[in-house]
């Protein structure tokens, strides 16, 4: 009997009733936060311009982080792929319009540049994850994509230099510019990536990044101007 009663919790309270002479009244108030958490994530109420500008400001902030690479976690923490997409499309468009476009064995097509950049980034990310890196997949893609910024700038400079002629001097200038931006890209991306790697494998992770930017730099340097 006792066991049956104890096994059903609160079973003894079923016949308790509140007598009517005990007043049950009061005030219940829930303090409402003036800034509820929901509002932070819901962007329905703000103007579209605000939403777009917020993303653009984030992209711009990351560009500045790439230009002055120091060990900061902003690039890694809020990753986004808008910047890499923008840079990739710009670079692919700038690599178009060369004289070699009309030939069969010519310069890289738009799709080839796209594939090299994205496929290369994915392979490098897989490589660093397989070697035991603690960085996440998209964070690594974000870093590698943003660090193409110096090379894209070099491409723009090269096209401007090529407007004035394609002799030896212009080649030397382009070589210097591309080499400098390649070094900058590699340095910037290793500054962000090597923090998350085990110490005795850093060189193994850095080498593919070096190769990646070297190939992109090569594509930029061998761009021949339209006649």
């Amino acid at each position: 009997m006792a066991a049956a009663e104890s096994s059903r919790p609160f079973s003894g309270l079923s016949d308790v009733s509140i007598s009517e002479d005990i007043p049950v009244e009061g005030d219940i108030s829930v303090p409402i936060d003036s800034s509820r958490k929901d509002d932070d994530f819901s962007t329905l109420d703000e103007p579209v311009k605000e939403t777009i500008l917020r993303d653009l400001r984030a992209v711009g902030k990351k560009f500045i982080h790439v230009l002055y690479p120091k060990r900061s976690s902003a690039l890694l923490r809020d990753w986004d792929l808008w910047g890499p997409l923008l840079l990739c499309v710009t670079l692919a468009l700038l690599l178009q319009g060369g004289a070699a476009d009309n030939d069969d064995q010519g310069g890289p097509q738009f799709a080839e540049v796209f594939v090299i950049i994205w496929f290369g980034s994915i392979i490098i990310t897989l490589n660093s994850k397989l070697l035991g890196g603690t960085i996440s997949f998209f964070q690594s893609l974000c870093v590698l994509g943003y660090c193409i910024l110096p090379l894209t700038a070099a491409m723009a400079v090269c096209r401007i230099v090529l407007l004035s002629g394609s002799g030896k001097v212009s080649f030397a200038v382009r070589l210097v510019v591309v080499t400098a931006s390649f070094g900058w890209s590699t340095f910037a991306s290793t500054a962000f990536l090597t923090g998350s790697q085990p110490p005795n494998r850093k060189a193994l992770v850095v080498y593919p990044v070096f190769l990646f930017y070297f190939v992109i730099g090569w594509m930029i340097l061998t761009f021949s101007p339209p006649q």
């Binding site: 096994s7 064995q105 010519g106």
Partner: protein, 295 residues
Amino acid sequence: MASPNDPFEFQEFEEADSLLKANRDATTISIEDEDIKTEKQRKADGDEDPLGTDDKTELLSGQKESPPFWTFEYYQRFFDIETHHVKERIIGSMLPWPGKNFIHVYLRRNPDLYGPFWICTTLVFAIAISGNISNFLVHLGKPNYKYTPEFGKVTIAATAIFTYAWLVPLALWGFLLWRNNKIMNLVSYSFMEIVCVYGYSLSIYIPAVLWILPYEWLRWCSIVVALCLSGSVLVMTFWSAVSDDHPKIIIVITSAIVVLNVLLAVGCKAYFFSKPEPVLTRHSSAATQVTMVPS
């Protein structure tokens, strides 16, 4: 059945049964976990280190539980190397020493995929880029020459090199497996180890290919030297695997390895590094030179 005399014998939980009999409404949870039971037994037996027995049983059975091949962890096993390992393996593949079997000395049961993959990729780009540069230097100064980056050649180089580095080991592994069935060999190599040897043996070609000086004899010299070194590494590695076999098989295997290596080297050289034409007077033979552009 548990004997009541032995206090260390595992005894069934009897309370659950009696509880259920008393009160049908009550819920009881019984955790039936074989591992926990056996661990308790082992602990009770006075074994201080249950993990030690786990390792011992694994080693004794000779097989580690390997994750299935579609998971990420399966491939992580092949990247378990450090920078100095890769350096040692590359140097070991460039300097063959008679009697030093690459697999036994350098791999030591730890083949990696990092080396083969990145050496192949580097070689692909090295061939494409230096072939392009040497083409440019050969035709430098000719009035009708238009420089083209020739990106199509990267695809061709990639196909050739990755086929050599991955399909030839597959064929060789299959062949060795077949021979192993017929003749009990002490030495048997896993597929990954063969891929590893082939991948690292290609590393000698990277400096050989970066010779862009347009002297024909220099290029052939460097290719032949690279050929000899990489071929000898491969032959020495596979010698011990086939040495117990029928002499005809030994000759077939060894010559197949060498011939494929030679084919790759000579083929790449011929296709990507066109022969520099003899220095004739440019003005008179400019027309004929334009028509004779080598592919």
